[in-house]
Symmetry: C2
Subunit: 222 residues, 2 copies
């Protein structure tokens, strides 16, 4: 969801995970931010098939040998661009109403993937990550982190008494966002604001009805 | 959804679309079925990156020149394997209850992608199709056809008075199946029977609440 802060030039650079003592704002952090930005620009322009360590080196001004040493290659670069996105703090909506919170979240997903300024970057990054095992692992971690973070809107709704105790918040988030990602990356259909809103409303309804509590499966009646 | 009949050896071969006067059971139909089967086997074993016209020719016993002439190349082969799947007739559930019908449909999706006999074939085919414009177009057509066909369960529910008039049946189908495809092709999470059931129940609930009717968007309240 919050891919933007990274994609548009992070204002809160994530700590460099491979440095034992990261210094925020230090050289290592700056290098990583430049490499991530260059990777995103290259992926958006040329796609995974056209992505080379050489081009990322040229665009970022970071030596090719450094890129190979710290990132391993193009798959590591793509994975780290996703990890950098997952590491970004993003403000969770807190309207006091689950449906409105979920609408804000699906509206955010809609915005990221239809923003003319970001253009093809978010879609290209996810598509590129799907192309390697390293990228796929980063993608799983990215979505797991997003589910976990966004689950807070459901947890607050449970605390308010708006949702049944035991509701699986990550499942509420998946339900709200899946119809958007389905169109973007599976059925290849256009996304619109109405879809985003409807997906949020459907997830809120299902959550309120207790569908996302870990009850025993009711046997099929037919 | 109903990828199986093709994937496991079609009992009802689809008509050959490029032959002006297709003869069901004729030579052209048999050639296509063999080529589709060989393409599926190759994609499952080697993935898109390992797919070659030569290997499909060797496996199907159809001459390479014929494959290039009729299918254009690997992307055309992948696209046609999907088209063959989309052309397959598949029995729609008709239990007299929307929720049960949707559960059958999501159970079918779950089965196709977790069936040990089919193994990686359905996933590999969709992943391969995502890799080219030709494949992506076939993928869009595949899902559009599936949405259209499966929408009948919602249309019957409207006729029974179970759903509001004007309900968009394709949207009900997307809502029911999106959480499954999201896990399979986006978040990379494992699929289980409970997810399939829950997605169907949530879609039925939202449909009954009138979320899939073309009403004017209610303005956000916050």
């Amino acid at each position: 969801m919050r891919l933007e802060s990274t994609l548009t030039g992070a204002t809160h650079p994530a700590p460099e995970p491979r440095t034992p003592t990261p210094r925020p704002g230090g050289r290592s952090t700056r290098v990583r931010a430049e490499v991530v930005a260059a990777t995103l620009a290259e992926v958006a322009e040329k796609g995974y098939d056209g992505l080379t360590v050489e081009a990322v080196a040229a665009r970022s001004g970071v030596h090719k040998a450094t890129l190979y040493r710290r990132w391993g290659g193009v798959d590591g670069l793509v994975a780290d661009a996703l990890t950098a996105s997952a590491d970004q703090p993003w403000p969770l909506p807190d309207t006091g109403d689950l449906r409105q919170d979920l609408r804000r979240i699906t509206q955010e997903v809609f915005s990221v993937f239809t923003d003319p300024e970001l253009g093809p970057t978010p879609t290209a990054l996810i598509s590129a990550a799907q192309r390697s095992d390293t990228g796929a692992a980063a993608l799983r971690a990215f979505f797991a982190a997003r589910h976990r973070q966004a689950a807070e809107v459901a947890e607050r709704a449970v605390a308010r008494g708006e949702l049944p105790a035991g509701t699986d918040g990550t499942e509420v988030v998946r339900a709200a966002t899946a119809p958007l990602y389905y169109r973007l990356f599976v059925s290849g259909e256009p996304l619109d604001a109405r879809t985003a809103e409807r997906a949020a409303d459907a997830a809120a309804l299902a959550a309120r009805a207790g569908l996302f509590t870990p009850t025993t499966t009711t046997p099929e009646q037919n």
